[in-house]
């Protein structure tokens, strides 16, 4: 829940870092400009979220998906963002998948040593 408008602000230190990374070393940015970019970023997130939500609703979906966001970005004239975000998304999905698999593997190998409810249940099933 948003109780105060400041809850929508993004942390200044992180914004400053992102700006610095994307400019030449010799560049400097006024404090006012930095604040303005931070505000713009919040508004951008709100703008993209509500546009994606509208797109999802149009397709009778209740929740937005990554695809909705990418499609919305293209519609809002930010198609230049789509390729690199798609790549990031692939890396993210792979990370999630790997995590899941390593978790599953761990369960398999450790089931013998930890006598928790689920492993005894498996054992009981095996007996039957």
């Amino acid at each position: 829940m948003v109780e105060r408008i400041e809850d929508l602000n993004l942390p200044n230190a992180v914004i400053a870092r992102l700006i610095k990374e994307s400019l030449p070393d010799s560049a400097s940015v006024s404090k006012e400009a930095r604040g303005a970019i931070a505000r713009a970023a919040s508004v951008f997130a709100i703008f993209v979220t509500s546009s994606s939500t509208a797109l999802a609703h149009k397709q009778n979906h209740k929740t937005i998906t990554a695809k909705d966001i990418l499609q919305t970005l293209a519609e809002l004239d930010f198609e230049s963002f789509v390729p690199s975000l798609t790549e990031d998304l692939e890396v993210y999905r792979k990370m999630v998948k790997d995590k899941k698999e390593s978790k599953a593997n761990k369960k398999d190998t450790s089931s013998s040593e930890n006598a928790n409810a689920s492993s005894t249940a498996v054992a009981e099933e095996a007996i039957e």
Binding site: L8, L10, A36, I37, V43, F44, I46, S50, I69
Partner: protein, 130 residues
């Protein structure tokens, strides 16, 4: 020499790390949607996307600043000028308006007076609920 060196939005390898806090982006997203459900994947993508936007906006505004060769400092006016002329930044017009001098504004007001008198200059309509 004249040509300012502009790095194209820094070549980065695709990655699954975010620098902006996910929790804050979630709050921002929730403020503008009616469902509560935001998957981790969507949250990740929106955070990445907002980071990219910050880089994009800073880079473009810096081009604007160095074109005017006043200095290497990016000022507010470079942002507002950029917003004013970029179609895909239209949604920021009210957030980053161009600043004008008071006497210029007064002149605009004077000119506007001919165009209609129902522009609301008073703030009488505040409803106060208990």
């Amino acid at each position: 020499m004249g040509e300012p060196k502009i790095q194209s939005p820094v070549e980065r390898a695709p990655n699954d790390e975010t620098v902006l806090p996910l929790s804050r982006v979630r709050v921002i997203m929730k403020s503008s949607m009616d469902t509560e459900l935001i998957t981790n994947e969507v949250l990740f993508l929106m955070t990445k996307c907002t980071e990219l936007f910050v880089r994009h906006l800073a880079g473009k505004a810096y081009v604007e600043a160095s074109r005017q060769k006043s200095s290497e400092t990016m000022e507010y006016k470079h942002l507002s000028q950029l917003v004013n002329k970029s179609k895909n930044l239209e949604f920021l017009l009210q957030i980053l308006p161009e600043k004008i001098r008071v006497h210029k504004f007064q002149e605009m007001l004077r000119l506007n007076r001919f165009a209609g008198s129902d522009s609301s200059s008073s703030e009488s309509g505040s409803e106060s609920d208990g």
